[in-house]
């Protein structure tokens, strides 16, 4: 079976900084990575392949950095990478992004399962899975914490909801989004990283997948007006002292004054 993992290329949030005066994020020069939950979707796909055979394709709508980012997916075990990269498709909203991904999935064709994270860790919007499912007319299984194939036509998943764990079965093909708890993604070995460089990566522009960037722009429904870090209102007092004991003593005094020690 062919499994397609949808991977989002995002800036490494561990390395993201904010300009102290404007509070705007500084994304320039920050390393790009696969969004963590999407990586777990890929890990799920690879484990299914290891158990049942088939192939795993990694698909991303990205930018100039995405080719490097997808190397990790290939090193983890994806058989091939597909990247949609076209400057005229940059900065689309979730509606546009899902339209592009659905078109690329159609172009790849012959899939049994499409996997993604329940949301990307940068925009946290949790829309792409259900939207892609709707556009392709497929069943959507969100928040999978466990997933197994009953046979090559049927999938069983445990959906992690607030109040219940819901065990569901569905006919394939289907779209499944996964939660963090589903697995721990493997760390590629040096050997697999070497091998990844020889695996095929296909880069498509808008016309290759038959989408019209102008039409997508005309359909644009959401605009980001402004992004900034919230004001941090902290005292930022560095406790001075000659010795460690002195500093610690002053800290304890301060905490008692704050009323947080219960004395």
């Amino acid at each position: 079976m062919r499994i397609i993992a949808l991977l989002k290329d995002i800036v490494d949030l561990d390395e993201l900084r904010f300009d102290p005066s404007t509070r705007k994020p500084i994304t320039e020069g920050v390393k790009h990575v696969i969004s963590e939950l999407d990586k777990r979707a890929l890990e799920t796909a690879i484990r299914l392949k290891e158990k049942h055979g088939g192939e795993v394709l990694a698909l991303s709508l990205g930018g100039p950095e995405t080719k490097t980012v997808m190397l990790e997916a290939l090193a983890m075990g994806a058989d091939a990478a597909y990247i949609v990269y076209d400057e005229s498709l940059r900065g689309l909203d979730a509606h546009g992004t899902s339209r592009v991904l659905a078109a690329a999935i159609d172009k790849i064709g012959d899939y049994g399962l499409i996997l993604c994270g329940e949301m990307s860790l940068d925009s946290l919007s949790a829309q792409v899975g259900p939207r892609v499912a709707e556009l392709l007319g497929l069943p959507m299984i969100s928040y999978a914490r466990e997933l197994e194939l009953v046979d090559d036509k049927r999938l069983r998943a445990v959906r992690d909801l607030e109040d219940v764990d819901e065990v569901v079965e569905v006919e394939l093909p289907a779209v499944v989004s996964v939660v963090r708890e589903i697995n721990e993604p493997r760390i590629p070995t040096l050997m697999s990283i070497m091998r990844a460089k020889r695996k095929p990566t296909t880069i498509w522009d808008a016309s290759a997948i038959g989408v019209d960037p102008d039409a997508l722009k005309a359909e644009r429904a959401v605009e980001i007006l402004n992004v900034e870090a919230p004001m941090v209102e902290r005292k930022k007092k560095i406790i001075e002292g000659e010795t460690v004991e002195e500093k610690v003593e002053r800290l304890v005094e301060a905490l008692i004054d704050e009323g947080v020690l219960g004395v």
């Binding site: 949030l13 561990d14 993201l16 900084r17 904010f18 994020p25 963590e36 979730a94 509606h95 899902s98 860790l121 940068d122 946290l124 949790a126 829309q127 792409v128 259900p130 939207r131 499912a133 709707e134 069943p139 959507m140 969100s142 928040y143 909801l161 607030e162 109040d163 764990d165 819901e166 065990v167 569901v168 079965e169 569905v170 963090r180 359909e219 644009r220 429904a221 959401v222 605009e223 980001i224 007006l225 992004v227 870090a229 919230p230 941090v232 902290r234 005292k235 007092k237 560095i238 406790i239 004991e245 500093k247 610690v248 800290l251 304890v252 301060a254 905490l255 704050e258 020690l261 004395v263």
Partner: protein, 314 residues
């Protein structure tokens, strides 16, 4: 033109009525609520609805995406809303995204504020994993937004008049079959509920050294937490605090050997008092803290534990 609200969560439903009423009033339009299955439509009217659409059908007994979406689509057809508010539960988020795709429109998820401006719906929502706030605009009608619990106040109920309408609909059949539903077991007090948390970062050289933190935690009656690297990369803990982990809000948070990345900052923003202990005086954690001690944690921690033990015994 109207505002339409839906949530399967009873409290969130009332909170949506409050915000929905406000938005409807600014447009001088009606507020409609959708009720699927059991419930009291009169209560929704008391909390602000002008119209309640009630949908009942054997296929709507348990929640499932396709039947619920088809009912919501029908309600949208009837009410032709310019704004649709949906409760941001897990089910609600899935439903909203699927509905937005069906209608071919935008969606603002997990909104923390909402207002109408020049025909656009403007919202604030978290982005960059919770470390930043984005102001976003929905440009096209119907505007759809999801709202988490406890963001908007529940309105005061009042004696009001409204209309209850039966929604005639043949729901779509669910595509997935529910085999079993297992009730979740509530775990013991987790990091989210802890009053005091002491947390470790990469300043700790090896796992055994966490003993120093455990001693401090014992004196304070604190829960122990950590950053993503020491949990996910080093495997010293199962869970971590930060963008991709727990968001905590204790009265007192002591960050030990933590540099203060954006990732971690997003998880501790709502803490009461934050104390930072770090060797590097330029570490960002000092910008996020109320009190800081610049020093080697291997010296500061034992001294702090000792001082607190003496003080708290009194």
């Amino acid at each position: 033109m109207s505002v339409l609200i839906y949530s399967e969560e009873p409290n969130l439903r009332l909170e949506l009525l409050g915000k929905g009423r406000e938005l409807a009033d600014t447009m001088d339009s009606k507020l409609a609520a959708l009720q699927i299955g059991d419930g009291n439509p009169e209560e929704l009217i008391k909390y602000g609805a002008d119209l309640v659409y009630v949908a009942e059908h054997p296929l709507l007994g348990e929640w499932s995406l396709e039947p619920y979406r088809s009912v919501l689509l029908k309600a949208v057809e009837e009410a032709s809303p310019s704004v649709i508010l949906i409760g941001a539960t897990k089910r609600g988020k899935e439903l909203a995204a699927s509905l937005a795709a069906s209608l071919g429109v935008g969606l603002l998820t997990e909104c923390l504020s909402l207002k109408l401006e020049d025909g656009k719906l403007i919202a604030e929502r978290l982005t960059y994993g919770g470390s930043a706030i984005a102001r976003v605009a929905s440009l096209k009608k119907p505007h759809i937004a999801t709202v988490p619990q406890r963001v908007f106040k529940r309105p005061e109920p009042a004696e009001r008049r409204g209309e209850v309408l039966k929604l005639e609909v043949e729901p779509e059949k669910p595509k997935a079959e529910v085999v079993e539903r297992r009730e979740k077991v509530r775990e013991e007090v987790g990091l989210e509920e802890a009053e005091v948390i002491v947390a470790a970062g990469r300043g700790f050289k090896k796992k055994e050294d966490l003993k120093l933190l455990e001693e401090l935690a014992e004196v304070l009656g604190a829960k122990i937490g950590g950053t993503r690297p020491i949990a996910a990369d080093y495997g010293w803990m199962k869970e971590w605090i930060g963008i991709s982990g727990h968001k905590v809000r204790p009265k007192l948070y002591i960050a030990v050997g933590i540099s203060g990345t954006v990732h971690h900052a997003a998880g501790i923003r709502d803490c009461g008092i934050i104390v930072a202990i770090n060797r590097d005086e330029n570490a960002n954690i000092f910008n996020l803290a109320d009190y800081g001690i610049v020093g080697d944690l291997y010296e500061v921690l034992p001294a702090l534990t000792k001082a607190l033990r003496e003080r708290l015994k009194k």
